[in-house]
C-alpha cells in the first residue's frame, strides 16, 4: 500500500512557514494517516492545497467569489506558497506547484502534473460540505459528470455535436418546407389546385394553350416555346397594342400636369418693371449708395458739418443731414429694385420648369399616333415653347438691363398657352375612358391573363419541383443521419449504463453498510433515463417501491450516506490507477451510531487504499486507532497566525489520560476517561442488545449504561463467568460508583491515583472483551437458535468453557 510518501505545504491558506510536512513513511512502508484537530486548527488547508494541485483551483472558494489571490497565506512571500507531493511511483516522482504572485492563474509547476491528473479522473478528496453535492445536481449534470469520469467524454462530445447537427438539418428542412409552401400557394392561385407532377402540370397548362388556340404540349421541354408563342400573340393583338399606347400616354400626361399658370405673376412683374424704370435717372445713381455711407462715416469721425472735406468748399446747413436725405431716397429705390429682382427669379424658375415639361412631353409624344384632343395638345406645346423661351431669355438678364418695352404679358396670353392650361381634365378623362374600354375588352383580357398565367404556372411549378427534389434529398440524408445518431446514442447509453451498473453495485453495498438498520430504504441506484439522451437520476427502493429522485424520501443523514457511497464507489471504479483518498470531517454529518460503520466501510472495501483522514471528533479517532493501529496519527493542537497548525503526534484517549495523570491533572484525566467510557459502554450495549430503561431525552448515565451491560452479560453468560465477575466487581467498587456520580462535576476532587486505578481496572476488562485479531468488541448474536457472545471474527468467544473454570 502507498501512493504518497510525503506532502509538504508552505504559505498556503492557513499554513505559513515552516512548511507543514506530512510524512507517510512508517517503518519501511507508507501508511495512511489520521489527523485530529479542533475546528480552525488548519486541517482543511491540506485539502485546499490538494484540490489546487489536482484541478488548479479551489471550487468552493470560486463559488464564493474568491479567486487565486485568496490562496496564499497573507504572510507568505514570493516562492514560499506551494504544495509539494512526493509519490511512491517513480513515474510521477515529485510534483511541486508554486503560487506565482505575478501570474496568479499560472502557478509554477515542477514535475509531471498532467500525468498525475490523468491518473485521477475522479476527485479523490471529499469535504463534509461536498458530501451531498452530487445528489442535488440536475439529471443532465449527473450524467455529464459520471460519464466523463468513466472515460465517455469524447463519446459524449460527439453525441452532443451530432444532436446539434440533427437540429441544424431539421432547420434546413423547415426553411425548404416554407419556401415550398409559398410556391404551392402561387401555383394554386393560378390553377386552383396544388402542384403534383409533370403530367398534371402539362394537363393544366394545356387547358390554357387550348383556350388561346395554341397546340397542346406533350413534354415539359415544349412548354417554354408555347409560352413564347402566346407572348407573340399578345404583342400582335391590336387592342393590347392600343391599351399599351394609351397607358404610355397616360404616363406622359401625368408627368406633365399640373403645369403652372404664370399669367397673373407675369402681368404684375410687367407693371412693376415699368414703374421702376420711370426713375431711370435715379437708377443710375444707385451706385452712389456706398459712397454716401462712407462719406457719413468720415464726416462723423472728423466732426465736420459745414464744408466738404474733399474740396473744402463751405456748405450752408448740415452736410451730414444733407447726405442722409440723398441716401434715404436711394435706399427706397434700392429696396424696390430688390423686390422686383426676387419676382424676376421666381418667374424665371416657373418658366424654366414649364419649358422642361414641354420638352419632355414633346419628345415622348413625337412618334405616337394621336387622337384629339391630344393632337391639339401636341400642337400647343410646339407654339407655346418659343414664346416662353423668349421670356426666359429676357428674365435671365439683370433688372437694370431688361428692356422696358419687352411685352411679357402678350407672350403668355396666347390661345395655345390658355388651351394647355385648360385641357388637363379633358385629356385625362379621354385617356381614362380609352384605357377602361380596352381593359374591359374580354378577348384582350383573356389573352393577356392567360399569358401571365402560363408564365406564373411555369415559374412556380419549376421552382416547386426543384425545391421538392432538394427536400427529398435532404430528408433522405436526415433520416440516415438520425438512424446513425440514434444507434450511436443507444450504444453510448449501453456503455454508460453498464458502467453505471458497476458503480451501482458498489454503491448498494456501501449504502447497505452505512444504513444497515433501515430496512425500508434499500438498493440505491444510478438510473439512466432511456427516454432521454442524457439524464441520470438517483433511485432508491422505499417500502418496496422505487422512488426517484431518491432525495424525495431520504433523511439528511441518509442523503449523506448516499453521497459518501457515490463518492467511494466512484473512486473505486474510476481512480483504478490511483489509490489515495482524502476525507475531511465527513463523519461529521453522521449520527454517532453510524460513525463506526464508516470505519467498517473503509476496512472492508478500501484496505488497499492510502487514506488521509481529517477529523475533529476525538471519540471517532479512538475507534479509528483501534481499527487501524498501523495508521500514522497526528494531532493539530492549535493554530497560530504566523506559523499555521501546531502539530504533535496523535494520541488516543488512554494516552491522553496517561499524560494528564503524569502531569497530575486528575480532573482532565477523569473527564477524558468519562467521555471515553460512556462511548465504549454505548457501543457494548448496542453490540450485546442490552435493555435500557426508556427516557425521553434518550440519554443514559454511566451507571445506567454499565448496569444494563452487566445485566445483559449476566443473563447471557451467567454470573459464574470469569469476565462477568470482573465486571460486577468493577461496578460495585466504591471508586467507580463515585466516579459515575461525579465525573462531570469539577468541584469534586479526585486524586491522580484514584483515577489511575479506575482506568487500569477498566483497561483490564477491555482487553478481555476486545479481539486482538479483528480489534472489535464482543457482540451478542443468535445463529440457528444458538446464542453467541463473540467478536465478528469469532476468535474471541466468551461462551467457551475456559471462562467458567
Amino acid at each position: 500500500m502507498g501512493e504518497i510518501q510525503k506532502i509538504t505545504i508552505s504559505g498556503f491558506r492557513g499554513v505559513n512557514t515552516p512548511p507543514l510536512e506530512l510524512n507517510f513513511k512508517k517503518g519501511h512502508s507508507f501508511q495512511s494517516m489520521m489527523i485530529y484537530g479542533r475546528n480552525g486548527s488548519g486541517k482543511s488547508s491540506i485539502v485546499d492545497a490538494w484540490e489546487w494541485l489536482y484541478s488548479g483551483k479551489i471550487e468552493y472558494l470560486s463559488r464564493e467569489g474568491a479567486g487565486p489571490q485568496a490562496y496564499p497565506h497573507k504572510e507568505a512571500s514570493e516562492g514560499q506558497a506551494y504544495i509539494e507531493v512526493e509519490f511512491t511511483d517513480g513515474k510521477i516522482g515529485k510534483i511541486k506547484m508554486e503560487y506565482d504572485p505575478n501570474r496568479i492563474t499560472h502557478p509554477i509547476i515542477e514535475g509531471n502534473l498532467p500525468n498525475l491528473r490523468e491518473r485521477i479522473p475522479h476527485p479523490c478528496h471529499l469535504r463534509y460540505r461536498d458530501l451531498t453535492e452530487f445528489v442535488y445536481k440536475r439529471k443532465a449534470e449527473k450524467y455529464e459528470i459520471l460519464s466523463q469520469f468513466m472515460g465517455f467524454a469524447n463519446a459524449l462530445n460527439i453525441q452532443n455535436d451530432l444532436q446539434k447537427c440533427a437540429g441544424r438539418l431539421e432547420q434546413e428542412l423547415e426553411i425548404l418546407q416554407k419556401d415550398s409552401d409559398r410556391l404551392v400557394d402561387d401555383f394554386r392561385e393560378v390553377s386552383e389546385e396544388e402542384p403534383k407532377d409533370i403530367e398534371n402540370f402539362i394537363k393544366i397548362i394545356n387547358t390554357i394553350f387550348d383556350r388561346q388556340g395554341i397546340a397542346p404540349v406533350k413534354e415539359l421541354t415544349e412548354v417554354k416555346a408555347s409560352i413564347e408563342k402566346l407572348r407573340e400573340q399578345v404583342e400582335e393583338d391590336e387592342k393590347s397594342q392600343k391599351l399599351s399606347l394609351w397607358k404610355e400616354i397616360q404616363g406622359i400626361i401625368n408627368r406633365f400636369y399640373p403645369v403652372g399658370d404664370i399669367r397673373l405673376n407675369i402681368s404684375e412683374f410687367q407693371k412693376d418693371l415699368i414703374a421702376f424704370k420711370r426713375d431711370e435717372e435715379e437708377i443710375s445713381k444707385l451706385i452712389l449708395l456706398d459712397l454716401y455711407e462712407k462719406g457719413i462715416e468720415a464726416l462723423e469721425s472728423l466732426k465736420i458739418y459745414d464744408k466738404c472735406p474733399l474740396c473744402d468748399q463751405p456748405y450752408e446747413g448740415n452736410l451730414i443731414e444733407h447726405i442722409k436725405t440723398k441716401q434715404g431716397h436711394l435706399d427706397r429705390l434700392s429696396k424696390k429694385r430688390n423686390e422686383l429682382d426676387t419676382k424676376r427669379k421666381t418667374l424665371l424658375s416657373s418658366i424654366d420648369e414649364i419649358i422642361q415639361k414641354i420638352d419632355s412631353a414633346s419628345s415622348n409624344l413625337e412618334e405616337k399616333k394621336l387622337e384629339p384632343p391630344l393632337v391639339e395638345f401636341k400642337e400647343n406645346l410646339i407654339t407655346v415653347k418659343p414664346l416662353l423661351k423668349d421670356c426666359k431669355g429676357m428674365l435671365e438678364t439683370k433688372i437694370e438691363i431688361i428692356d422696358k418695352e419687352f411685352d411679357f404679358t402678350t407672350k403668355v396670353s396666347t390661345e395655345g398657352y390658355k388651351s394647355l392650361l385648360a385641357s388637363e381634365s379633358e385629356i385625362s378623362e379621354k385617356i381614362v375612358r380609352q384605357v377602361e374600354i380596352l381593359e374591359k375588352d374580354e378577348s384582350r383580357r383573356s389573352l393577356v391573363d392567360d399569358f401571365q398565367r402560363t408564365n406564373n404556372l411555369q415559374n412556380s411549378f419549376m421552382n416547386w419541383a426543384r425545391l421538392n427534389k432538394k427536400f427529398e434529398t435532404l430528408e433522405e440524408i436526415k433520416d440516415d443521419f438520425e438512424k446513425i445518431r440514434g444507434d450511436y446514442v443507444e450504444e453510448t447509453k449501453r456503455g454508460v449504463q453498464a458502467s453505471f451498473d458497476k458503480i451501482s453495485s458498489d454503491l448498494t453495498n456501501y449504502f447497505k453498510t452505512l444504513e444497515k438498520d433501515c430496512e425500508v430504504v434499500a438498493n440505491p441506484k444510478i438510473k439512466l433515463f432511456s427516454e432521454k439522451d442524457k439524464a441520470v437520476e438517483l433511485e432508491i427502493i422505499f417500502g418496496g417501491d422505487p422512488i426517484s429522485p431518491a432525495y424525495k424520501i431520504l433523511s439528511e443523514s441518509q442523503l449523506n450516506s448516499f453521497g459518501l457511497s457515490i463518492f467511494l464507489a466512484s473512486i473505486k471504479n474510476f481512480n483504478t490507477d490511483f489509490k489515495f483518498i482524502i476525507l475531511d470531517d465527513v463523519i461529521n454529518s453522521f449520527d454517532a451510531y453510524k460513525r463506526p460503520r464508516v470505519i467498517n466501510l473503509l476496512e472492508e472495501h478500501f484496505s488497499d487504499y492510502q487514506i488521509l483522514l481529517l477529523t475533529h471528533d476525538s471519540i471517532w479517532l479512538d475507534r479509528l486507532q483501534r481499527s487501524f493501529p498501523q495508521w500514522i496519527r497526528k494531532h493539530f493542537f492549535g493554530w497560530d497566525y504566523a506559523i499555521g497548525p501546531r502539530i504533535e503526534p496523535g494520541k488516543n484517549s488512554y494516552e491522553q489520560i496517561d499524560e494528564f495523570l503524569t502531569k497530575d491533572n486528575p480532573t482532565e484525566a477523569g473527564r477524558t476517561f468519562g467521555v471515553y467510557l460512556e462511548w465504549i459502554l454505548q457501543l457494548l450495549c448496542e453490540n450485546c442488545e442490552a435493555l435500557m430503561k426508556y427516557n425521553r431525552r434518550n440519554e443514559h448515565s454511566l451507571s445506567e449504561l454499565f448496569q444494563s451491560f452487566r445485566e445483559r452479560l449476566e443473563k447471557k453468560l451467567k454470573t459464574t463467568h470469569s469476565i462477568v465477575k470482573l465486571i460486577s466487581d468493577f461496578e460495585t467498587d466504591t471508586g467507580f460508583r463515585n466516579f459515575c456520580a461525579h465525573w462531570k462535576d469539577p468541584e469534586i476532587p479526585y486524586t491522580s491515583s484514584e483515577i489511575g486505578e479506575i482506568v487500569e481496572r477498566w483497561k483490564n476488562i477491555e482487553t478481555k472483551i476486545e479481539c486482538d485479531n479483528c480489534h472489535k468488541y464482543i457482540r451478542y448474536e443468535k445463529v440457528d437458535g444458538y446464542e453467541h457472545v463473540f467478536c465478528p471474527c469469532t476468535k474471541l468467544n466468551l461462551k467457551l468453557d475456559k471462562y467458567y473454570k
Binding site: 441544424r168 427534389k469 440524408i477
Partner: protein
C-alpha cells in the same frame, strides 16, 4: 464505446446505413469533436449536385 471512431468504422461495414452519409460523419470527426459546419456544407453540396442532375 470509449473510442467513438471505432464504432463508426464498424458501423460502416455493417451495411445498415447509407455508406456516403456515415463515411462523411467519420470524415467530420476529429479527436473528440464532430465538425457540424463541415457536415452541413457537405449536405448543401449534395443538394446542389442533385439540382445539377435535374
Amino acid at each position: 464505446m470509449r473510442d467513438p471512431i471505432k464504432w463508426f468504422e464498424e458501423a460502416i461495414d455493417s451495411g445498415k446505413y447509407k455508406k456516403e452519409v456515415i463515411a462523411k460523419i467519420i470524415a467530420c470527426i476529429s479527436e473528440d469533436r464532430f465538425n457540424i459546419n463541415e457536415f452541413i456544407n457537405w449536405v448543401s453540396e449534395q443538394l446542389e449536385k442533385d439540382m445539377g442532375k435535374n
